[in-house]
Symmetry: C2
Subunit: 177 residues, 2 copies
Amino acid sequence: MEQVHGRCPRYGFLTEYLLVTLRERTQGGTFLKPGHTDVPAAGPLEGYDGAESEGCRMVNSVLARVGDKWSLLVVMFLSDGSKRFSELKRMIGGISQRMLTLTLRGLERDGLVTRTVTPIIPPRVDYELTELGRSLQGHAVALAGWAHANGDRIAEARRRFDGEGESGEVRHAVAAE
Amino acid sequence: MEQVHGRCPRYGFLTEYLLVTLRERTQGGTFLKPGHTDVPAAGPLEGYDGAESEGCRMVNSVLARVGDKWSLLVVMFLSDGSKRFSELKRMIGGISQRMLTLTLRGLERDGLVTRTVTPIIPPRVDYELTELGRSLQGHAVALAGWAHANGDRIAEARRRFDGEGESGEVRHAVAAE
DNA sequence: CAGAATCCGCCTCGATACTG
DNA sequence: CAGTATCGAGGCGGATTCTG
């Protein structure tokens, strides 16, 4: 779960880049060539190697976690308090023990959930969101909310795109607008 | 790119669920059992099947896109205006033509970027963010910003977690990776 | 230059069986 | 109940080659 392919190497500078970009944009400035149309950058990610070491993995792991199949779902179900393993499994209904274990393990590893073991004969383990986990949930909800709000537009764009493909437009046609 | 594994089936109700949850939480209410500790839900996702049909794919596709390897990076590089294919490839520096094509195709399909072809002998294709794409970028940046801001805490939690595993703790046999 | 097509290694995920 | 271990299928992503 922590080694999502070789995802890291290129996302590295993203942290710096997007933060600066966002800041610049909101201030009306563009620190990168705004209107050029020719070859610009000398090499790939030249000055960003430094940020790759630390910032990369963090941004990456978060994005990977949000994007993976079950993490967000688990986080959502933990919104209203701690839950037992089997409880989560039953609520989600479709996740295998293996994936639930791996997902929870990953979330625990990143400090997003806590794992509390009650050593009784029928084992009991409770999971609960940490502060960190709750703050992540906020952003995740926002993102999902965006998806929900723009679902129609995306669906429409998708239909139109798929429709164009079949009509013989050999992909060399202007993508309209 | 549009068929990310079988990711869809379970995320469906998430849209409704998390939105309602969030709303309820901010209002101090909990429409779901708050403090119980026993088996609660009768079955898995009983009343949510309806939402799976439409809401699911949208929320899912967005989360999958944010989580995948290159989409966000491409979106970030398109922040400051349209870019040519080779321009993006050079800037990202590490992505293969195949993945850049697939990524852009996926973004285009969802209406997040526009593809403009200039039919000249050396082909020229420009990509640009749409309004929709820009709004997604906002949330993506926020999420990445969160990752950046909490990188230290995550890294620490991760170290601690990995450290405990080796010291023969209660964990029945940490897979340790 | 911008892609399409192909081959292939790796990872992710699900199902199953076993343990404490 | 709460995992762990193993197996297998399928998808993702990289490298390479070929086209207009």
